[in-house]
Amino acid sequence: MSTPTIRGQAINAAAVRRDFPVLSQTVNGRPLVYLDNAATSQTPRQVIDALVRYYETDNANVHRGIHALSMRASDQYERSRARLALFIGERKAEHVVFTRNATEAINLVAHAWGDRHVGAGDEILLTEMEHHSNIVPWQLLAQRKGARLVYAHIGSDGQLDLDEMRELIGPRTKLVAITHASNVLGTINPVAEIAGMARRVGAPVLLDAAQSAPHLAVDIEALGCDFLALSAHKMLGPTGVGALWAREERLAEMDPFLGGGGMIDRVDEQMSTWAPVPDRYEAGTPSIADAIAFEPAIEYLEQLGMDNVRQHEIELNALAIDRLHSMPGVTIHGPQSPEARAGVVSFALAGVHPHDIATILDTEGVAVRAGHHCAQLVMRRLGVPATTRASFYVYNTAHEIEALVEGLGKVRRVFG
């Protein structure tokens, strides 16, 4: 194998890898090549250590306790919230609500904001490239309220058409819910422009940042969105915690959603009054350990620098696109430029179904995802039942892209 070169100045992936115990294993006798980062990212030692530290020294329920452990747990929990807020450009920690994941954050908005503000005949504008998690909550809301979903189309270049967007956003538009980056095509959407259009009709913008917050610098002010959803498990953090950020004005116009301990002020038999945000939206015992262990994940990304993360992935994109294009029968879906996409490359190999590709790659230790990627509308737009997706992160290397390409050679041989 010739040693492929990428500039590799942005991130020293070889050094980064040493922080990720999971990466040093072999799978089916071959070194694990983990290229399924858009599904979930791997976890650095620092995050695992934070979980262990929590359970070994500080485990206690938050907020309600006077004793030492409860105070320590509460302090760390709130510190993580503040860190996450700053990570996305928000100084007021209380505008960040911890959820289980991005999906729950979006459902929270659909209920707490949507049920109050969306009515019969209103429109919610989505795009065809949304993940099911940014479609189904709005379908359920639309069904409850008699509203309608309107979809912006994906062009043949894998991009949205801003002119179409401008036409679709009108007086009936009550909400615009779009992804920052597509989990299939990689496409990075022009959020600030779209938010500007939405602002002119007074419609808030919900940004699904599940695929962007892990991979590029996200700043709520520059983006101009009103709500933002993300998941820790896609950005080096643990499973079980995600977040909703909401602008102060929007928080003020939301009803409670999940009811229970911790979100109330006073409970009477028939009705209650509510605690201030963010507690109002965190009913019951939160994912305390996971939320606390999210902080070192954010810290890890900050230390790498989000611009470097982005640059590293552009380099991997460039190499992957180049190498895949050199193989006969490969079609790459989505924008062809490495800069136009997050670190996601979906492709087709003529005559071979993605599940067969994924199974054969797995025997070579290469983990990719095959399927509809929770984006059936994208599959229909592409005219395929499924795609094979390789997605990159800070620890991936040029060698691993070579391993992917070699694995595809084996696929070719089996199905030749």
Binding site: N28, D356, A370, G371
Partner: protein, 147 residues
Amino acid sequence: MTTGASLEELYREVILDHFRDPRNKGTLPNPTGTFSGSNPVCGDEVTIDLVVEEGRIVDVAFRGEGCSISQASSSMLAERVVGMPADDSRKLAAAVRTMLQTGDEPVDDVGDLDALRGVAKFPVRVKCALLSWNVLEQGLNELAPAS
């Protein structure tokens, strides 16, 4: 994949052959019934046309979308059950299911279908191989209730 299973056990020559050159693929002009199924997680879909007369499968055709395993399994099914009494094909389906789930050599003779046995070593692919058999059973239950 269970460590130790090799690709050759999954992609037997007969499977690849059925995948490349599927038998009875298409539609039938006057089916007694048409039955469909899908695996929502992976998106495989299969539709089977059946002509059943007096408790016997007279003709079969299938179509659908899916990986080599689900396509080959459908093709092998179609080739095999034409002309079979419904009850026998039900028994065959049960034998194939057991074989796919256990990886054991089937008690009943399943003929060529033994080529699917290697799928058992790839648990995540078992449902691909099973899909058309589930659809067949569902169709027979409607058209020729077990005697």
